[in-house]
């Protein structure tokens, strides 16, 4: 006997979570299935709406200005500007003061771990004091063994972008010598736990020792940036203590995987889904689907080799694009593996990519085509299944990496797909 739900969401990234939250807010009984927890841990934790147009114009000051001008197949054009705003409002409401940027339509320019800056619509509160448009002098601090972020290189790079603030850098030894190749989460946990250690004959805590190492470099700066490792479970406490000890603003620079900002975001969104009464199940892949008279009736979870059916009235596919394996390819063709939905693509594999590393890559836009209801369609534009919708990167027609539109599209299409699915049950 299958477990039964009103709405079943497949995929646990921002798109899946936005879908489930959108459906739950409409009163639907919703369940989210996710193979792994890693999606958001790969993301920066920034919530982009649109930084550059599909033609590459930008950075855009106001991303909403550009939405009306998009080609008809762009997911934003499908759902419309109001869905983008409503979806964002839902997420803003959930994230509260832990995220910033809702006070304006304008994009912020955020320094990230490579020393570059990128436009984004929403950013964690811990990132806020580091914005590139702010003219206060900043110190970047790196840790000796964290090779993904080098403070001196990043500061010099930022300086070369022409930002209005003076930049300086310091690299310090983390007070507890962790293994040379420890993951950044290890640093975060040490800052969370804040154990005592003996330093030059005194007993100090880890946070205290970090502050003492950084303090001599802080003299003429008004803000201090660390790579985003300042705690996983107690980030506010860590940052508050460093702020007090250094007597200056402390901020984090978004990092690549594993991304603590992404993990914190994930934790908040799942918490919100839990509070909204949604169910979720993480750790097993959805491997199969069953249809009944052209309608999706259930999907099957593979739990340690056992196939467990999940039935629902409405389904939403939020399994990601080629990066998340929501879209797969072999040497011959590109496919949506779970429901076998049509994926438009050139037949010649050598037309899937551009010669230049940052060129215009068709593979970045691979996904299912959707109708105005966000239902995947076949080659003729007819909905594949009346009760299946899609959200996020599994939808074709946009390059989120080039546009910096990944989270925005996921939130807008997820919110809309969840809302529509809920109203049909």
């Amino acid at each position: 006997m299958a477990i039964e739900q009103d709405v079943l969401v497949i995929g646990g990234g921002i798109a899946g979570l936005s879908t489930a939250l959108g459906a739950a807010r409409e009163g639907a009984d919703v369940r989210l299935l996710s193979e792994s927890e890693t999606t958001l841990r790969h993301a920066s934790g920034l919530l982009d709406v649109m930084g550059y147009t599909p033609d590459g114009d930008g950075p855009l000051v106001d991303p909403f200005d550009a939405i009306g001008e998009l080609p008809a197949r762009h997911p934003y054009a499908t759902v419309g500007e109001s869905a983008v705003r409503d979806g964002l409002a839902m997420v803003d409401d959930i994230l509260g003061e832990t995220y910033r940027g809702e006070h304006t339509d304008d994009n912020a320019l955020v320094p990230t771990y490579g020393g570059t800056i990128k436009p984004t619509a929403r950013y964690p509160d811990s990132v806020a004091p580091g914005l590139a448009s702010d003219d206060r002098a900043m110190l970047l601090v790196g840790f000796e063994r964290v090779t993904a972020f080098d403070a001196a290189t990043a500061a010099a790079h930022l300086d070369n972008t022409g930002l209005p603030a003076e930049t300086s850098a310091a690299t310090v030894e983390f007070p507890v010598i962790v293994r040379d190749d420890a993951k950044v989460t290890r640093y975060a946990h040490l800052l969370d736990e804040n154990p005592e250690l003996t330093h030059e004959g005194r007993t100090v805590t880890v946070r205290e020792a970090v502050a003492e190492a950084v303090k001599p470099h802080c003299e003429s700066v008004e803000r201090v940036g660390f790579p985003a490792v300042l705690g996983e479970d107690h980030p506010n406490a860590v940052r508050r203590e460093l702020t007090e000890r250094l007597d200056t603003r402390v901020f984090e620079l978004p990092m690549g995987p594993p991304s603590l900002l992404g993990k914190r975001l994930e934790s908040r969104l799942y918490g919100a889904l839990d509070e909204a009464g949604g169910h979720f199940e993480i750790g097993s892949p959805v491997v199969d689907a069953e249809t009944d008279d052209g309608v999706v009736s259930s999907v099957f979870l593979d739990r340690s080799g056992q196939k467990i059916p999940y039935a629902a009235e409405q389904f939403v596919l939020a399994t990601g694009g080629v990066a998340g394996q929501g879209i797969e390819a072999d040497r011959e063709a590109v496919a949506e593996p779970l429901f076998g939905c049509h994926v438009p693509h050139p037949t010649d594999r050598y037309e899937w990519f551009d010669e230049a590393a940052f060129g215009d890559h068709p593979f970045a836009r691979f996904g299912v085509a959707v109708d105005e209801q966000l239902r995947p369609t076949d080659a003729d534009g007819t909905a594949e299944f009346p009760n299946l919708r899609a959200a996020g990167a599994v939808i074709e027609g946009y390059d989120y990496a080039a546009e910096k539109s990944g989270s925005g599209v996921s939130i807008a299409t997820g919110y809309e797909a969840g809302r529509r699915a809920a109203t049909e049950v």
């Binding site: 914005l131 090779t147 290189t153 022409g162 603003r249």
Partner: protein, 581 residues
């Protein structure tokens, strides 16, 4: 000749660096010029097979005999570059018994050790071999790292006083009274960017003798002295798998044909190859059918390859040569022997000798014969010692073990470092500074990266070939920027960024031939990380237009406001206590 004779060697592939080393060891004053990085041409684009000679035991026995002799020598002098994998010639049902017999006979005639294995014995050694293979012949093929080999030769040449110039293209040969008397060199790179020279500067280097070891570009160089050397470049594809499906070199036991070899190489396996004559060694099509052919054909030997993950493909060009009027139509029929062309004897143009053809396995022998020739011309009577004297890194076969003990290198990271560095392990790893892993896929540490930067300057592709950093599954996605970080501040930020862009683009170039399956997902993750998170496709620091920072969001509060997120802010803690229901 009264002073030390000065030789200019053109070409920084295995042949050129081998000649530079040999000549320097015999007391010549040597300058080596390479237009790109060391191994820039054919050497850096081969499958890493140290031939036993088995490949040529039927068709080209002279080459086969040279191969087995050199194979044994390189195992001694280049221990840290060679992995003794052994090799198999595998017979499928459709391959003829007649050729199998010829192969066995030829191996014996060329004194190449050969053992016949039954199908069961072969599969016991390599479990992924196809179920229907009939039998196999075991030969002493091995895997060799061409980068490490060239770098070690160049370093040895330097140690013997040679000047090694990379990114320095010979743009003309100086001819006076019908004699080649030197070269004109254009240095490509700026100070600090690569190794030597000032960008765009032109230098004239006079020499007693010029050696043309330019590989596929031999003809172009000869033409600068109005000489005709017709090299017939032939391209071949190599496809790299993300793991080693086999630990032994697997050859198909048939006369000739495309896609007939799998070479285990470090953490990967390399599939090869095609053999197609091309008109221009620098510009030729890299085609989809070639990649598909590798997987389909070699899948007949090792079926798991059909489902496995490829991480990139690359092409190399063989500088094949045959004496004029031989008239071979098919490039696979052209001999793999090498030729030494004394242009004084051949064309009445003294001062220049060309060496062309051959293969990596015989590079040392080619160098020996070439330098013998120079020595005779210049009246130098020092004997060749390259067959006896180990290369830097290979001086002490026990050094790896000793260093592992000394540094407590029991972890896979340390083991792999020591294998790459050989007897240089202690010198490189003996640092008091933290030594974190910079490239996770290939387990390359900071000390190795910094050593490579010391040796090769800011060019990260040169660092890559010395260390293998960025050559694993992620193809630099996770480590390219970490490598660039190590360049600063010896080099300025702009130089570090340029080096990052060059490496990233180079890694993309091969990876785009592997865009299906898991590697397509990997490519998108890499692209998303570098474009989405780091905005490297629109990096304001690299764009011409100045950004209007003031037009963007300056934060939730006006700077300086009391309610701004500043010192003393009261914030509630975020909880991370949610889990699945």
């Amino acid at each position: 000749m009264t002073s030390t004779p000065h030789v200019v060697v053109v070409g920084g592939g295995s042949t050129g660096v081998g000649i530079a080393r040999d000549a320097a060891m015999r007391g010549f004053d040597v300058t080596l010029l390479e237009k790109g990085n060391l191994t820039h041409g054919t050497t850096g684009r081969m499958h890493g097979l140290l031939h036993s000679g088995g490949r040529y035991a039927v068709s080209d026995q002279e080459s086969a005999r040279e191969c087995i002799e050199e194979n044994m020598i390189l195992r001694d002098i280049a221990t840290h570059c060679v992995e003794d994998t052994g090799g198999l010639f595998v017979k499928r049902p459709e391959d003829t018994e007649e050729y199998y017999r010829e192969k066995l006979e030829g191996l014996r005639e060329c004194s190449i050790p050969a053992t016949e294995l039954t199908a069961a014995e072969a599969r016991a050694q390599e479990p992924y071999l196809a179920k229907d293979i009939e039998k196999a012949i075991e030969v002493p093929d091995a895997a060799i790292d061409p980068f490490r080999l060239c770098v070690a030769n160049a370093k040895s040449a330097q140690n013997h006083g040679a000047r090694i110039e990379t990114f320095s293209e010979v743009t003309d040969l100086l001819v006076e009274d019908g004699e080649v008397v030197g070269v004109e060199v254009t240095h490509e790179s700026g100070t600090g960017k690569h190794v030597h020279g000032v960008e765009g500067t032109v230098e004239e280097i006079r020499a007693d003798h010029v050696v043309n070891a330019a590989g596929a570009w031999t003809g172009e160089l000869a033409a600068m002295a109005d000489l005709d050397v017709e090299v017939r470049p032939s391209k071949g594809v190599m496809t790299i798998m993300n793991v080693r499906q086999v630990d032994t070199v697997i050859n198909r036991c048939k006369p000739k044909g495309d896609a007939d070899i799998v070479v285990p190489h470090e953490t990967t396996a390399i599939l090869g190859t095609t053999d197609e004559e091309v008109s221009d060694p620098a510009q030729y099509p890299e085609e989809q059918w070639e990649v598909d052919l590798m997987i389909e054909e070699l899948g007949k030997l090792v079926p798991i390859l059909e489902e496995a993950r490829t991480i990139r493909s690359f092409w190399g060009v063989r500088p094949l040569y045959e004496p004029p009027d031989t008239g071979t139509d098919d490039p696979t029929d052209i001999t793999r022997q090498f030729f030494l062309l004394d242009h004084d004897e051949r064309d009445g143009r003294p001062g220049l000798t060309t060496i062309v053809g051959g293969k990596l396995t015989t590079y040392r022998l080619m160098a020996e014969q070439l330098v013998d020739h120079l020595a005779e011309k210049c009246g130098v009577d020092t004997a060749c010692r390259t067959a006896q004297e180990p290369l830097p890194g290979s001086e002490d076969a026990g050094a790896i073990e000793a260093a592992m003990n000394e540094f407590g290198l029991r972890s896979p990271v340390g083991k792999r470092s020591a294998e790459r560095l050989g007897s240089r392990t202690e010198e490189v790893l003996d640092t008091d500074d933290p030594n974190p892993v910079v490239c996770g896929c290939e387990a390359v540490t900071r000390a190795e990266i910094r050593d490579a930067i010391d040796e090769s300057g800011s060019n990260l592709n040169a660092v890559r070939i010395r260390t293998r950093a960025s050559m694993g599954n992620c193809q630099g996605g996770f480590c390219a920027h970490r490598l660039a970080n190590e360049l600063y501040d010896e080099y300025d930020e702009r130089q570090a960024r340029t080096a990052l862009d060059e490496l990233y683009q180079e890694r993309w170039k091969g990876q785009r031939h592997a865009l299906w399956g898991e590697q397509l997902g990997q490519a998108m993750i890499t692209y998303a990380m570098h474009a989405t998170t780091m905005n490297r496709d629109h990096d304001p620091a690299s764009e011409d237009q100045a950004l209007d920072f003031g037009a963007f969001d300056t934060g939730p509060g006006v700077p300086g406001d009391a309610d701004d997120a500043g010192p003393g802010e009261v914030a509630t803690d975020g909880g991370g206590d949610h889990c699945g229901d």
